[in-house]
């Protein structure tokens, strides 16, 4: 069990360096296993965005922390993939440039991975292969509708015209 854990840890460690560099366009990050026993030790996350000096994770900004967490979760995902992954509003704290890099990373996963992405962000919607809208025209009662994006990038309901 200890060997398996170490193997997994090392693979995730390697992937994390890569995902971090991609999402931050530079900088460094690594994982450290503290203590003697791999099955008990603390796992430390160290992250340094490009050009900045190394500091505690707590001093990173809200968006930098979110992107670091996404890099780590995607690294674990690459080591042990699931057929689908649900992302619930992970783009909320990210600025436009970071959303662009985040979406870029989503697209590098092959089509065998299904991403179900819940979002309020128009750019994320543009990246979708399929778009579903949930509405509550009747308060408290959810309905699903097909949605497409207008030229302005706004989501609008696809209303099927009844053919006369």
């Amino acid at each position: 069990a200890s060997t398996l854990f170490l193997e997994t840890f090392n693979s995730v460690q390697q992937k994390f360096r890569e995902t971090f560099k991609t999402l931050f366009e530079g900088g460094d990050a690594e994982l450290r296993l503290l203590g003697e026993d791999p099955l008990e030790g603390e796992i430390e996350v160290v992250a340094r965005p490009r050009g900045k000096s190394l500091q505690s994770l707590n001093l990173l900004s809200g968006g930098e922390r979110a992107l670091t967490a996404i890099a780590l979760l995607f690294a674990i995902y690459l080591v042990k993939p699931s057929p689908f992954c649900i992302l619930d509003e992970v783009d909320a704290p990210l600025d436009d440039a970071n959303i662009h890099r985040f979406l870029g990373m989503l697209k590098t996963f092959n089509k065998k991975t299904q991403f179900i992405v819940i979002t309020h962000n128009k750019r994320t919607m543009e990246a979708a292969d399929y778009l579903y809208g949930i509405t509550m025209q009747e308060p408290g009662v959810s309905k699903v509708v097909s949605v497409r994006l207008t030229d302005a990038g706004e989501p609008e309901e696809v209303v099927e015209e009844a053919v006369a």
């Binding site: 649900i86 089509k111 179900i116 778009l131 408290g140 009662v141 949605v147």
Partner: protein, 165 residues
């Protein structure tokens, strides 16, 4: 293996039968605050056997049953069916499609079935074992994950690693 379809009836804000079909690639779910998007994520994780009512934002499992609105009465049962296509034959069964169904009643008792045959939760977990489907905390990524994953207390991180190992 691909997630083909999600069907809900009586689950949280979905009192009437609802179906969503998924393709490969990226599916976006959008809508105003409180319209039911996270409830859909809850339904998927619930159907795969989530046992913690708290993880589903409730106090008890009965909280996932539609509990009425100003104009509709509460109902007595919630039901979710997830249908997977067995492409790549990852699943040990000999079907092309696997339909996982879970229902719960106000008593809090859950019933499970696989392709309409009643079974136990354990059977569902066995079928999906090692396919990467199930309770993987890292395949449902939500806002609070950031603090959990980066917190000074490395307990959450360790759990994710152990799941992946």
């Amino acid at each position: 293996m691909l997630l083909n379809k999600l069907e809900l009836l009586g689950f949280k804000s979905f009192p009437q039968r609802l179906k969503i079909e998924f393709g490969s690639g990226i599916t976006c779910i959008v809508g105003p605050n409180g319209c039911g998007k996270t409830n859909i994520a809850d339904a998927i994780r619930w159907a795969l056997g989530e046992q913690s009512a708290k993880a589903l934002r409730g106090g008890s499992m009965g909280d996932v049953i539609f509990n009425g609105t100003a104009n509709r009465k509460p109902i007595g049962m919630a039901e979710v069916t997830l249908t997977f296509s067995n492409s790549g034959s990852l699943l040990p069964l000999e079907y092309d499609e696997i339909a996982v169904n879970r229902r719960v009643f106000r008593s809090g008792v859950s019933e499970y079935s696989l392709n309409k045959t009643p079974c136990r939760l354990k059977d569902i977990k066995d079928v999906f074992f090692d396919t990467g489907i199930g309770s993987h905390a890292y395949s449902l990524i939500e806002q609070e994950m950031v603090d959990h994953v980066l917190s000074d207390n490395s307990g959450h991180r360790r759990f994710l690693f152990e799941e992946a190992a």
